[in-house]
Amino acid sequence: MGNIKWDEFFITGDPLILGAQVSIALTMLGVLFGLTYLKKWKWIWREWITTVDHKRIGIMYIIAAILMFFRGGIDGLLMKAQTSRPEMGLLSSQHYNEIFTTHGVIMILFMAMPFLIGLMNVVIPLQIGARDVAFPQLNALSFWLFFSGAMLFNISFVIGGSPDAGWTSYFPLAGKEFSPSIANNYYAIALQIAGIGTLMTGINFIVTILKMRTKGMTLMRMPMFTWTALVTSGIIVAAFPIFTVALALMKFDRLFGTHFFTVSSGGSDMLWANLFWLWGHPEVYIVALPAFGIFSEVIATFSRKQLFGYKSMVYATVGIALLSMVVWVHHFYTMGSGPGVNSFFSLTTMLIAVPTGIKIFNWLFTMRKGRIKLSSAMLWALAFIPTFTIGGVTGVMLAMGAADFQYHNTLFLVAHFHYVLIPGVVFAVFAGLYYWWPKMFGHMLNERLGKWHFWLFNIGFNVTFMPMFFLGLNGAVRRSYTYSAESGFAPLFLLSAIGSVILAAGFAVFCYNIYWSIRYADRNISSDPWDARTLEWATASPVQHYNFAKLPEVKSFDAFWQMKKNNEGLTLKDSEIEEIHMPSNSGQPFMMCVIFGVVGFFLVFEWFIPAAIASVGIIVGLIYRSFDYNDGYHIPVEEISKTESTWRNEKGEVHKHVG
């Protein structure tokens, strides 16, 4: 570490980056100042940083994800600005490369996944009638590791240089031979740290869902979102170890000069592509499946009808999960593995259309004969169906190996994946936020602003990405920072850029909606404002930290709906209240986050001795945890009955109506 080259350490020379550096510094100072001024340090430490409460962890995930959406979104806008006219000079090619790389990584790994995991955290224990997840402290650690990885990745922008080899980071380009800068170390190390957190989340949720369901909730009575969370966790556990290994090998190649993927000494670049997509394809279903679960809940609630074909929905989900492990080669049909391999993977890929189709039609038939209430949450779910169908059928076109030779690496592909990712994930998290917001915060998001948000975002989305299909078919390739005027691409690129402005306006309305609702929205709302069907609505809003004073008993699918219909299980008598055992808060996960961040940072800069010293901290942390026998604490009966009386009516009934 002796001779740090400071001139290379901070990225300088680019006004955009200088602006970013200044604004980051100012924001950080502002936050620090605000916390000090408002004397909130203790509060934030006690109530948030050390929390092991699944709802708060979920909310922290969501906040982080929204921040990352901002970062990724601005990357997207910059790219659109750069390609709005031929031969634009807004971004240099190097800068453009860094931006699409960070955009892809951040959007998928630090926006989509944490957003969905955040919603899972908030909702799943409630939906299954549990008081927390199986391993609350591990859950906090998962969050903090994700956070550590995300922050490490983000500082690359100002310190050391951003990764620039695409979110797929194909070798040999991403190797030291062609990217000697440490920028790509950030990719390997930050994703590794976040990935460990994700893997643990997967294990945690499998055990939670299998072992912590309340009495009577058999597997086939679980809400659809819980099912998709379970299956998603299964994919996480199967796929993330592959990525862990791939990233580790990448680090070995980059830091220690091994030859897994290098051009020289027998390495195989194709091996990286193979391992990356062995994880990467399941990854897209990791983000898609929970989203499907959210839509299932929202559509059923706002059609006032049970989910149509529940069983086939479950089988379809499991089918998608199994198929998702055997289609990865469709990302590199063009690598020349021969027609036999390509035929096989064309078939497996197309087969995913079948279970997905089952889902689409089941959603449509859930609405049939229903009474469809066009709330903001429902609008997102509705818009999802046609737009995702477009994304899906273009996916099937890509799946046809021979045809893919003409689509691969073009904007047609870029259009496809935004048409599945944005309706399939972003619409879902918006639907989920509008739907569960009252559960999380005790007030609703403004519906009027919600409609503005919806229409702007939706129109903007289609205008941005629809032209890309045609650009792709006309030969426009992806990841190209500019194009010539003669190419004839200019009009559609411009249209697309205009769309992205509308899209951004939609997002801005969303942010304003959050701000407005926090300040002005009515706090006096029912605990069940949508007249919903599942157990999370059977308790207070916002949910008390122990979730349920008395764990509900489930007798059928759509448990809460049936409880309301038969008017049973909704009241709580004082005599039924017992002490509740809850886990204690812990500062350790946060400490681990810091240590992992420091170790990661040193490794990025290839300073091995400091990294080794810092990693002792990790070992100490693990040992400390092993000796930690803290068994939590008990909430006394009086406190529970006091809390319960604030939201139930005098008879102890669930408070149902807005008033």
Binding site: E177, D269, F361, N362, L364, F365, T387
Partner: protein, 336 residues
């Protein structure tokens, strides 16, 4: 509310229309200039038809259901029935997609196998072999039979199959001439193969579609299809007038730069074929130090730059630090 729904339906109705018209506009994928690209286009059209069917059915059902069952003032008292599912319906919408998948996979497999062979009707023509070496950021074409080499353009005879043997001197590229054929990767230390035929004389854009670093944009080349006579004439001209490619010149060429067109009357295959497993690796890690904090690179025996990395990297760093806006593509950029 009504207004919203109308807007909704209108918005999504535009989309299939756009898709439909897609087939008639002048998009390169739909204007094939040879049998290989045409067979892919036929497959695409076949799939478009089915996809359109799916889209129309889903959109129609969607529009109808949302319209008919939306909440209105009149139906506020309507309480939807309990409905678990319907086995018959579920079987139908499992079976039909399976049938569609079958309808799609059969021609896909046929085409996949056909693309490996010389296209139908050209089996009797002797294919012309051209070795393609992709380097950062230029395309090198070697004609082993004719013994000539070109950079960033390739001339081929019309109506004769051309067998491109693809490899790379470093990063991974994708060789794509959309008007003539689909793409295929070019990778170091291995060889992939792409066969195509140009039916008409003409100039077609070829490009790299696989991102490979800072100079990726503008890594294009021209494919010029000529009559057999013109082609022969061109070969003869090259033999007479072009300079000789030396090993030094070649190594210079492999550095990460954009070059214009070049022509030589011999080929680099004489001293290296990058497709060989144990070919020398002419990598220049020192020349890629242009962003961020520099980590260490590893000395490989075959890193070309090792001996004199000091001087070379010194001045290169300077010159390449500023972006290469006016620097890309030489004269092949945008000449189509």
């Amino acid at each position: 509310m009504l207004k919203y729904i109308k807007l909704f339906v209108a918005l999504f109705a535009v989309i299939p229309v756009l898709l439909l018209t897609g087939c008639e506009t002048n998009m390169v994928v739909f204007e094939p200039q040879g049998p290989v690209a045409r067979s892919i286009m036929e497959l695409i059209n076949w799939s478009l038809m089915w996809m359109l069917l799916v889209v129309v059915v889903v959109f129609a059902m969607f529009g109808f259901i949302v319209w008919k069952y939306r909440e209105r003032k009149e139906n506020m008292n309507y309480e939807p029935p309990e409905e678990h599912g319907n086995t018959l319906f579920e079987i139908i919408w499992t079976a039909i997609p399976i049938l569609i998948v079958i309808a799609l996979i059969i021609p896909t497999v046929k085409t996949l196998y056909a693309l490996e062979e010389v296209p139908e009707g050209y089996e009797n023509e002797e294919p012309l072999t051209v070795h393609v070496t992709a380097a950062d950021w230029k395309w090198i074409f070697s004609y082993p039979e004719q013994g000539i080499e070109t950079v960033n353009y390739v001339n081929i005879p019309e109506d004769r199959p051309v067998n491109f043997k693809l490899t790379s001197a470093g990063t991974m590229q994708s060789f794509w001439v959309p008007a003539l054929a689909g793409q295929k990767y070019a990778m170091a230390k291995m060889e992939t193969q792409l066969i195509l035929v140009a039916e008409n004389p003409g100039s077609y854009v070829g490009k790299n579609s696989n991102f490979n670093g800072r100079g990726y944009t503008g890594m294009e080349f021209e494919v010029l299809a000529q009559t057999q006579q013109d082609f022969n004439q061109w070969i003869a001209d090259v033999k007479n007038t072009a300079p000789v490619l030396t090993e030094e010149k070649y190594e210079e060429m492999l550095k990460p730069t954009h070059l214009g067109r070049l022509t030589f009357k011999n080929t680099h295959l004489a001293w290296v074929n990058h497709a060989d497993e144990d070919a020398q690796t002419y990598t220049n890690p020192e020349l890629y130090r242009y962003n961020g904090y520099q980590g260490k690179t590893f000395e490989e025996e075959d890193n070309y730059m090792n001996e004199n990395s000091e001087t070379e990297s010194g001045d290169h760093h300077h010159e390449e630090n500023h972006d290469d806006h006016g620097n890309h593509g030489g004269d092949d950029h945008g000449q189509h």
